[in-house]
């Protein structure tokens, strides 16, 4: 089965072959590297930009202004902060121009912790992204969704923020990407660039991929349950999946997939069934996006709640430390999620 990064690469190939993506660019996105996580190896329309995040976002806006579709990359979410006013501008371009200038662009960036990336390769941008209206924001938790969300992002006429959970990029899929070859070995030989001098003349041999989309704004019901609802996305979703295994509690697990617009109806319906809800993500806990969701639960489903809606998020500290003890103390771990679920289910109002 394909890894998530292979799935993203295949989606980008599908995009440039069938969906009119004409430029995929960013720092080290083009040959020879094809992205620091290899997400853009072997693609036809990739190119290397200067190491200039503002230039990358500005250029993407300019390309989209003409109606052409592009996918740009910021190498790590940690390095996107100096572009925040351009992100605001991309989000308000349509609104400020009274609907006259849509921006069909995709911005992808590796996001979050889990690879011991220290202070500047571990940060999450989830909540920051949700503070910028006009963007759609997605983050996949598995390879198939990574493929489907990327194709939906490319097809969407709005700016779409595609947060790649970097700790999941090498995780293999449980399901086949439509058109993926039968054997992993064959897929690797076809689309993974060789290391060393062979790379110079290497060309990808793409499988015959098929269109598969995951609608933006729609969550996925991962597990049905009756005692508590757990809502997560990206890397944290996988941790939640592990946390609920062998737990003597019936957990309804929802993969949000789209942070904005988010699937409120799925959240609400589940909460009304279970009466308990936990939101899990890695971003820092103060003014966390999960807090907004928890607030909305209180506001719209107060009389269905058996316990206060709860957010389990990253600690409000300036960075994520390198040592495993520091990283695991900073962002939610499987044991933290388990504990929180147990606490909520065993407590009552």
């Amino acid at each position: 089965m394909a890894t998530m990064v292979q799935a993203i690469r295949m989606a980008l190939h599908y995009g440039e072959k069938h969906l009119e993506v004409k430029d995929i660019f960013g720092q080290d996105v083009g040959p020879p590297l094809g992205g620091v996580f290899t997400a853009t190896q072997g693609l036809k329309t990739t190119w290397n930009s200067p190491l200039d995040e503002r230039g990358i976002i500005g250029t993407a806006i300019g390309i989209a202004m003409t109606g052409e579709r592009c996918v740009c990359e910021i190498q790590f979410a940690d390095y996107i902060f100096n572009t925040i006013d351009l992100l605001k501008l991309a989000g308000n371009n349509l609104w400020a121009s009274h609907g006259q200038f849509p921006l069909p662009l995709v911005l992808m960036t590796p996001n979050g912790a889990g690879i011991h990336g220290s202070i500047y390769h571990s940060h999450s941008f989830d909540t920051w992204a949700t503070r910028i209206p006009g963007w759609k924001i997605v983050s996949p938790s598995n390879a198939l969704d990574a493929y489907g969300l990327m194709l939906s992002a490319i097809l969407d006429p709005n700016p779409v923020f595609y947060l790649k959970p970097k700790a999941l990029l090498r995780v293999k899929s449980k399901e086949k990407i439509p058109g993926e070859p039968e054997s992993e070995k064959e897929l690797k030989e076809r689309i993974d660039a060789p290391i060393g001098l062979e790379r110079e003349n290497w060309k990808a041999r793409w499988p015959k991929l098929e269109l598969y989309t995951v609608p933006l704004g729609k969550a996925r019901l991962v597990e049905e349950g009756t005692d508590i609802t757990v809502v997560s996305y990206g890397r944290s979703l996988v941790l939640c999946e592990k946390a609920i295994q062998n737990l003597d509690i019936s957990v309804e697990l929802i993969d949000l997939r789209s942070l904005y617009p988010y699937d409120w109806q799925s959240i609400k319906k589940s909460l009304q069934k279970t009466g308990r809800i936990l939101f899990v993500n890695e971003d820092t806990e103060v003014s966390n996006f999960g807090e907004h969701l928890a607030y909305r639960c209180t506001k719209e489903a107060f009389y269905d709640l058996l316990v206060p809606p709860t957010v389990l998020a990253g600690k409000q500290v300036p960075g994520i430390g390198l040592h495993p003890n520091l990283e695991s103390a900073t962002v939610p771990q499987i044991s933290d999620i388990k504990k929180e679920i147990e606490k909520l289910v065993h407590s009552s109002l």
């Binding site: 351009l86 501008l89 009274h98």
Partner: protein, 336 residues
């Protein structure tokens, strides 16, 4: 400061056209200032003092929609350029009164913040530098297309050149073998709100920075419409042919200060229109009486337009939900 008539190769008709448009733009701006001072508008910011550069620029644009026409990333002092391209006075007043009929933003944005897709005029923002990084993308698309002769124009002020987007524009537009068909301009009025140019710039000129990237660069008197026209015409012709960037720094005046925030009062700096009128009179192309008539005619028109636009519809509260996403105004995302 007198203009040098020997360097003029423009036809009499072109000179008079430029003068007429400069006056039209100035009268429009002065009426907008008047509206602010009457307490009828929230804010004014605009381009009095930049007409000698901006009007010729507007006249030289290959205007239209799409990749094969010129693209413009303008700053908020660009009304004279748009007037020269054919923008009516009404449009300016609609932005001032933030009317629902304002096609650029529907009453959402400040005065003189235009967005005009039919002429490839990208939304003008209050942020003084972002246009320099966005323009790269459009110029890149134009460069890719074989046979495309169009270019991207990006304008800004000297304070905008402090920001890193200006450096981005120079870097990205001059990459070896990937040079972009882009005209980069700075209308240097020597001020960033209340901070003087001399306090903040160690370089002799802003053009020095462009030269460091091997970009053909010019520093010109932005109060001389003839010089501006010739320089712009030559630069634009060259970019259309050679598909490489050119930088122009035009030294202009700022005749009403930064904006209404600094009072919007007339400042004693060289006035490009007065200078140009002295030149036209000396050349016997126009009389004082004819000049006065032009000013009066536009002033009278502006007054009437003000009264008309004030009666137009205001935006409605519910309209805030429109255009958050493209054609998705009624979607579930906003049902809180």
């Amino acid at each position: 400061m007198a203009l040098d008539s020997k360097k003029n190769t423009l036809t009499d008709q072109k000179l008079l056209q430029i003068h007429d448009l400069m006056v039209k733009a100035r009268v429009t701006e002065e009426r907008l200032i008047h509206i602010y001072k009457q307490g009828l508008g929230y804010f004014w910011i605009g381009g009095p003092g930049e007409e000698a550069f901006s009007v010729p620029l507007g006249l030289l644009i290959d205007k239209g929609q799409g990749k094969n026409k010129d693209w413009l990333y303008l700053h908020y002092r660009a009304l004279p350029t748009l007037i020269a391209m054919g923008l009516d006075m009404e449009s300016a007043f609609r932005t001032m009164f933030n009317k629902a009929t304002d096609l650029s933003s529907g009453g959402r944005n400040f005065v003189n913040h235009y967005s005009i897709p039919k002429w490839n005029v990208a939304p003008i923002t209050s942020v003084i530098e972002v246009q320099y990084s966005m323009a790269i993308g459009t110029a890149y698309v134009q460069k890719k297309e074989k046979g495309n002769k169009s270019l991207t124009v990006v304008t800004g002020g000297d304070a905008g050149s402090h920001e890193s987007d200006f450096a981005s524009c120079l870097i990205w537009s001059s990459r070896p073998k990937k040079e972009l068909p882009i005209l980069i301009t700075v209308q240097n009025n020597q001020w960033g709100i209340s901070t003087s140019y001399d306090e903040q710039h160690g370089s002799k000129s802003i053009a020095e920075r462009a030269k460091a990237f091997q970009i053909e660069s010019y520093v010109i008197d932005g109060n001389d419409p003839i010089k501006c026209y010739h320089t712009l015409k030559t630069a634009i012709k060259s970019i259309r042919k050679n598909r490489k960037p050119i930088f122009i720094e035009a030294k202009v005046s700022r005749l009403y200060g930064h904006s209404s925030a600094s009072g919007a009062n007339y400042v004693q700096e060289p006035c490009c229109i007065k200078n140009f009128e002295a030149f036209l009179i000396k050349k016997k192309l126009i009389t004082k009486k004819q000049i006065k008539d032009i000013w009066e005619r536009y002033k009278e028109t502006a007054k009437k337009i003000q009264q008309k636009i004030m009666k137009e519809k205001d935006p409605q509260a519910e309209s805030i939900w429109q255009h958050v996403y493209f054609k998705e105004d009624a979607s579930d995302w906003r049902k809180f």
